[in-house]
Amino acid sequence: MRNSNNQCDQALERIEAYIDGELPPEDRNAFELHVGSCARCREELSYAEALAHELRALPPHRCPDHVIEEAASRAEAYAGGAGSTASGRLRARIGSYLRPWPKPVLASALIVIVAAVLIVQKHERLPIVGVPEQPAEFSPSGKELQTARTDVALAFAYVRKYSARPIENAVREHIGDRVMRTVGESILRPIVPFSFRK
């Protein structure tokens, strides 16, 4: 009984390798011999084969044309609109957020905002123009720092593996200038060896 269980366990462990034709001839013969005499393992093999077959029959999907069109527009904005500069990237990013909103919605929102500003100005006589802006203090949260560290590690891995670009450029792209300005060195130091820094 114990012997039969051991044989079943062994056969069940080898089902996938058997389906993929990766068992050496001796093991393959032993597997087929056991499955030929064990209804439970035969049933399991049949189920595994049917599932593997159905899995392979799942169709690849075609990328919709509009996705390629939209990506082409974004890529064009990147290439033509000083895409390698921060302002170009910012424009592209802002554009990508605005695109999903229909124009009437944007127009209505703008009208509401302008109307609200005018009403406030009229009733409270607040000096809207000319108020000096206070520089915003930026201190990244622990989560932002953790994300930045992960991104730096990923960027470093990519740059080392796929290209000879300076690490700093890749890092900036991944974690953004704000975090980089504030905590750049403290993030880079433990992850990126000195020789890889710009």
Binding site: A52, I68, A75, G83
Partner: protein
């Protein structure tokens, strides 16, 4: 500019979209991921060794998918509704020559897709790359930066996991 981009997009678009679709099981999110990866591909294509381009694309796609799944935070909840009993029956039926395959094909596909989207990493990536996209073990190993033997072990475990997931709902 559009022509070279289109050529690249046509070469890799389907591959990216298929992987993203089966991983996220959402057309909308798969479209977002595809668009993001295509733009990044265009931005970096000149810096990447042409021999490593396909692996780079799949690697970036996989990371984009993981980010998308993290954003919606439902990665582990996808299977919560459970795989339908019909699907398991359909697997059994599909090995029965007398059964009506067409009747159950959609249900089976649906269940498989749900199970795939719910399986953990790197099992899901490996099973999608190998079984649906037909990538070689060597290409998968290169993409995921892991030994070839590990890819095979993960693949076998993935199919075993799928068997258990589908069977457990009977």
């Amino acid at each position: 500019m559009k022509q070279p981009f289109r050529k690249l997009a046509e070469k890799y678009g389907d591959r990216i979209y298929t992987f993203a679709y089966y991983s996220l099981r959402s057309r909308e999110e798969a479209e977002d991921v595809t668009q993001e990866v295509l733009v990044r591909l265009w931005q970096h294509v000149e810096e990447i060794d042409p021999g490593k381009l396909a692996a780079w694309v799949m690697s970036v796609t996989r990371n984009a998918v993981i980010d998308a799944a993290r954003r919606r935070q439902t990665k582990s909840a996808v299977i919560a509704e459970g795989v339908s009993v019909d699907a398991v029956e359909a697997v059994a039926i599909s090995s029965n020559p007398g059964a009506d395959h067409a009747l159950h094909a959609a249900e089976l596909r649906n269940a498989l897709e749900r199970a795939l989207a719910a399986i953990d990493e790197p099992h899901r990536s490996i099973i999608v790359m190998r079984e649906i996209q037909g990538m070689s073990y060597a290409d998968i190993a290169h993409t995921l930066d892991m030994p070839l033997a590990s890819v095979k072990v993960y693949l076998h475990r993935s199919r075993k996991k799928l068997r258990e997931m589908l069977r457990g709902k009977v």
